[in-house]
Symmetry: C2
Subunit: 539 residues, 2 copies
């Protein structure tokens, strides 16, 4: 290695969408990013030859994080503090000029919409680090980040007007029946161009390096989602390649280096979740055990323990009980098509269950892409009423394969259920807490979010009226008793209306595991499907 | 220890229901029991003081099994050979006269109804050791073995005329709302009788010993079940005690000695399954981790690896993915009440799923004990059509709590679904193999048992006719193609009739994931619920 080195130490604190450089001790909000930049001129392959990490300390708390080479003689270390006060760091490197570099910053309380990383709470649910409950109402745009800048902007505008707070998206570009767009930029530099047997060009990647410009772009996209309050459920591997780029068939050592690099760059992004794969079992080039290794490698490498899961094809689950998986991310519609099925996996895994793919609202010929907006909305409600979560997706194609289908490309909303997803999120956030079945395996329609707080969902049933009645059992909360007064609101989950019922109801004595109103009062319901009730105690 | 010893070596080969003693080399059928008896006079506590085991060898195959004290100066070693040929054994003991005792026997091929132990097959199913498929169609009589001899005989007669091939039963007696019978005999000897605060007698057990007479009786009961081709799903612990005998609150070291003694005695019984507990989570005196310890202890102690699971209360599962559990034994009706739910746990655990308690046909006021015969039958079919299994139970009480309720006491059948369970078993055994969903999570009613072999179940639907149609997907078997000819039989699962349809059907070209008949032929169906179709390829 020829080394002509000069070292400039710069610390840049990346506040969302802008950054500044200075030498003074800077302030970083809790859960935002601290970034230190070291300039060191190298002629060799800095990705391969230079190791850099840093230990961050704040009293008795220490984190060791990897640094990374960002191109242009620029080495960076990022850190997400979860504790206020003075943080000091010292670097370790095999390069003298990058080794034993010290600095510090001051971490201040979070403010505004900064609630921190999302973590598991109450076994089956999620909370931000600041304690605010987080109810995942997600959608899917696998390759929005690989589309043109114009489509990306459109996607962000669409997301902004929606209520979604999670987005499934891939690091690697997507090749699929309806998704043929070539990205402008790739995660690896092009080493050469080879010819395929059919005469077409095939890029040969320099897999000993990365393309920093690609990741800088990805970071802007993830930060843009953060600005919208959206968690990036970042898919690290997927099968949609078919030899076009070969990113699904990289050797295991390359995959592990990729994981290390991605975590060094993105670990300090508070709104990142790791989705090890989409449809892992459809990737021909990795074994089941390699998936487990990759998943465990992510959990071991990530010092912050971001949420992590892996997603298979329809009804293909994996060992979600392994500690590396914080929750189950499942593709399967069977658990939400009919009553009583969704909670079964809560019972099995004792972790949050997100049905991340249950089919999509759209007009494709493929059966997974032709649900009505009503049915997509119904599936989301069938999940939440059971104390689980369901991810939305939209697959309308009105022109040809170049049309923007939101599921893969983003773009504009063309469907109807995206609005209902936002309405559902409002209902969830207005509840006294996360939902669970009030009387598990017996009453499949009544969920409880605490003492005296219920949500009943009637699904496709069209009822003329409803006799006030609730089960005695109330999940993990106190059993219902007689003499309890309630108000009731009628929620039309499709028309997005909430209509209060003027009467007050009072529980009679227990009859056959349930309490009716003491005067057997009933309420009139609209003769429509997709009706829910919100029932809240007054005493 | 005062030792006045004399040793008589006797080898008794227990053939079902009778045994003989001799000195010649005996023959034992594969999977039947070899038993060696050693007489040794002891004045101390032989349970506590004497250790005995034996190593059995047949060429390169060796097993080490524990012996046990059977009372009356009698020590026994039992062994179940799984390989024909000459088996030799040598004992190990801390007592000189019991140590280094040698013998041999000849193991011959099984014959008649001896198919060997039931083991896991094809991930989700079961096979006897001889390769014959085993489809669990079980019922429940938790404490039949603690009832009077007359009721026991009645129970065996009832089982004999039924089609059940598995019975859930407890080692310890049962105290419950409707089950107050005092057993004649207990697993431990009575040391003294204490007074409870309320003045009633409470037996104080000698927990350093066992009561061999109790276990001899249990063995006769298990052998009687074996004669009927019934697997004994033997429940080692349960919560139905409430201080009456205290068997639910024994110290952990006593529990572990009990496991060792039970396995020494019963391990060589080919029709025994270990059910570590019924409703484990309702036992107040054991923690979750203690249950896991007990379960792992059974798996480690049992040299034959009998089927093993553990059963919780409604919707309370446990880590069924642990290697000690060969299958999931679940109490929950939610998976079989509606379409699509039952296979979810196959996807999760990748083990056989037995819904061992989904409620019972009966007339109790408790909601778990008041299903109609139709509903009980429906639940069993909902399980099998999804490639899982459902256990039957009957809870009719026509007189008072002394009435024999089959679910706990055995006795006579009073319901209607027990006959349908036998019919279901005939259908299962006539299929070309175990069932699995043909098109998982999409077609929830069609199961496949191989290439060209289907079963469709319509559940509560009452259909006037059915257009011949099958999905292209066929589970793990070959996809269906056009030009395939089929015969169809209409199965009335309630009236237990099988009606062949005279026409032959032939698949047309693929339409929307399915094949219809090339002439769009349909068949008339009886306008009844609980109808199934058996569809078998002719070419």
């Amino acid at each position: 290695m020829n080394r002509k080195s000069s070292l400039v130490l710069s610390i840049s604190i990346l506040l969302i969408l802008f950054s500044f450089i200075g030498y003074a001790q800077e302030s970083v909000q809790k859960w935002n990013r601290f970034e230190a930049t070291f300039v060191y001129q190298t002629n060799g392959n800095a990705f391969a030859n230079i190791q850099l990490s840093a230990k961050f300390s704040n009293k008795d708390t220490t984190y060791t994080v990897d640094g990374f080479f960002d191109g242009n003689n620029s080495f960076k270390i990022r850190f997400m503090p979860a504790k206020t006060g003075n943080w000091q760091y010292v670097t370790t490197s095999n390069i003298k000029e990058l080794n034993n570099q010290k600095g510090s910053f001051n971490c201040v309380e979070a403010s505004g919409n900064n609630h921190g990383m999302v973590k598991i709470s109450n076994t089956y649910h999620f909370k931000y680090a600041d304690g605010k409950q987080y109810y995942p109402v997600g959608t899917t745009a696998y390759a929005w980040n690989h589309m043109s800048k114009a489509v990306q902007q459109l996607t962000l505008q669409s997301l902004k007007k929606s209520g979604f707070n999670k987005l499934r998206m891939c690091v690697f570009p997507k090749d699929y029946n309806l998704v043929k767009e070539e990205p402008e930029i790739y995660p690896y530099p092009v080493k050469s161009v080879a010819k395929r047997i059919d005469g077409t060009d095939k890029k040969v990647w320099d897999l000993t390096s990365f393309n920093p410009a690609f990741f800088q772009e990805l970071e802007k996209q993830i930060d843009a989602l953060n600005q919208l309050g959206i968690e990036a459920d970042l898919i690290l591997f997927h099968p949609y390649d078919k030899g076009r780029w070969g990113f699904d068939s990289l050797p295991m050592d390359v995959n592990l280096k990729y994981i290390k690099y991605v975590i060094a760059r993105l670990g300090a992004f508070k709104n990142v979740w790791w989705s090890i794969a989409n449809e892992w079992d459809l990737v021909k080039y990795k074994t089941h055990d390699e998936w487990i290794n990759l998943s465990q490698s992510v959990a071991q490498t990530d010092p912050y323990h971001h949420l992590e899961s892996i997603h298979g094809s329809t009804a293909k689950y994996i060992e979600y009980w392994l500690p590396c998986f914080t929750h189950a991310s499942i593709q399967d519609e069977a658990p939400v098509m009919h009553w009583g099925a969704a909670p079964i996996l809560r019972n099995a895994y004792n972790k949050p269950i997100i049905y991340d793919e249950v089919g999509y609202e759209g007009n494709l010929s493929a059966r997974w892409g032709r649900y009505s907006g009503e049915y997509m909305t119904y599936l989301m409600w069938m999940g939440v009423i059971a104390g689980t979560y369901v991810t939305h997706g939209e697959t309308y194609m009105y022109k040809d394969a170049n049309d923007t289908i939101f599921w893969a490309k983003g773009g504009e909303w063309k469907g109807t259920s995206w609005k209902r997803a936002g309405f559902l999120r409002e209902i969830l956030e207005a509840a006294s807490g996360p939902l669970e079945a009030a009387d598990v395996s017996r009453d499949l329609k009544t969920a409880s979010s605490g003492n005296g707080n219920y949500l009943i969902y009637f699904g496709k049933e069209m009822n003329e009226n409803w006799y006030f009645n609730l089960p005695q059992k109330n999940g993990s909360f106190n059993k219902l008793v007689s003499g309890k007064k309630f108000k009731v609101e009628i929620i039309d989950t499709w028309n997005m209306t909430i209509t209060p019922v003027s009467e007050v109801f009072e529980t009679a004595t227990l009859e056959d595991y349930r309490f009716f109103d003491k005067d057997r009062k009933k309420i009139s319901l609209p003769l429509k499907p997709y009706i829910a009730l919100r029932i809240i105690a007054l005493n």
